[in-house]
Amino acid sequence: MKRFLLPLVIFLTVVGFLAVGLKLDPREVPSPLVGKPAPMFNLPRLDNPEKTISPKDLLGQVWLFNVWASWCGACREEHPILVALSKSGTVPLYGMDYKDTRQDAQQWLEQGGNPYIASAMDTDGRVGIDYGVYGVPETYVIDKAGVIAYKQIGPVTEEVLRDKILPLVKRLQTQ
């Protein structure tokens, strides 16, 4: 008698997983770099190609690292939020212009506003690969020791900012 119940039990287990699966996104690739030191780079700055920028320069503070591009549609969505964030001065915001041209990038920032203290130019995308970037925009929260604390995949929304990023930043800043 009991063994005839087995198919039903197996089925209900699978259904349980499928139900949970409805809330998950199968295409989201979580970053294995969370909890690890931010990969090193030394890239030319967007505003001044003679100078370079590197995570080493930013040790000792909590900062946000936003990967963006002028050709990226979703970046337009999050841009006003980032501009507002930069005005509030809560946390320094640095950018990385991914696979873009200097001219297009500067034009885009002129049009939409520049929330970044500085932007690095990753023209060939190799630093992006080091950071596990697979789709712009992506944003990293990096702590005082230069360790990646969190990665936001996709545009930063009000909810994400309010519920995840800002509380984390506050916590890291008091450390």
């Binding site: 979580p30 294995p32 770099l33 995308g125 690969i129 596990g132 789709g135």
Partner: protein, 159 residues
């Protein structure tokens, strides 16, 4: 004067030979990538790695820009002589196990790799046990008198 003449003649001769040599080899299609061994490694790895921006495609089949970039990256590493495992590890450090179409063997994937074979074994064992048990069941019960009579009736009718 004579020397310049000779030099010019030699020069023209060399040009001619060069042109002829190029003419002769213009017919052969050249491989897209020069180093065949490296390219074989790139192809082999690309077929096992996932394109992260596609709807389920390998790096080998995808035309996406990131796929192109990653293939280039792999080519660079292969040219440096890195082994298959080293190249895969490099990508896994950055993108996680998601990028591998052949799931790595770790505690969380033991069930995946061994489950089917365990199930096969269980199925076969269960089958044999069940078959043996069936065979051991009492032989078919003998017919009752009524049933035996009915059988002879039917058999006689047939003939």
């Amino acid at each position: 004067m004579k020397r310049i003449f000779r030099l010019t003649a030699v020069f023209c001769f060399l040009l001619a030979i060069n042109a002829w040599a190029q003419e002769a080899s213009a017919g052969e299609a050249r491989p897209l990538q020069e180093n065949a061994a490296v390219e074989a490694q790139v192809q082999r790895l690309s077929e096992e790695l996932r394109c992260l921006v596609c709807q389920n495609q390998t790096l080998a089949d995808s035309h996406a820009e990131l796929a192109e970039d990653l293939r280039q990256e792999i080519r660079g590493m292969a040219a440096k002589g890195m082994s298959d495992q080293a190249i895969i590890d490099y990508l896994v450090v950055r993108y996680g196990d998601f990028v591998r179409y052949r799931p790595p063997l770790k505690p969380s994937t033991l069930m995946l790799w061994f489950g089917p074979f365990a199930l096969l074994l269980a199925g076969v064992v269960g089958l044999i046990v069940m078959l043996r048990r069936r065979a051991k069941q009492a032989a078919d019960a003998p017919l009752s008198v009524d049933e035996a009579n009915k059988v002879s009736e039917l058999l006689n009718k047939e003939s």
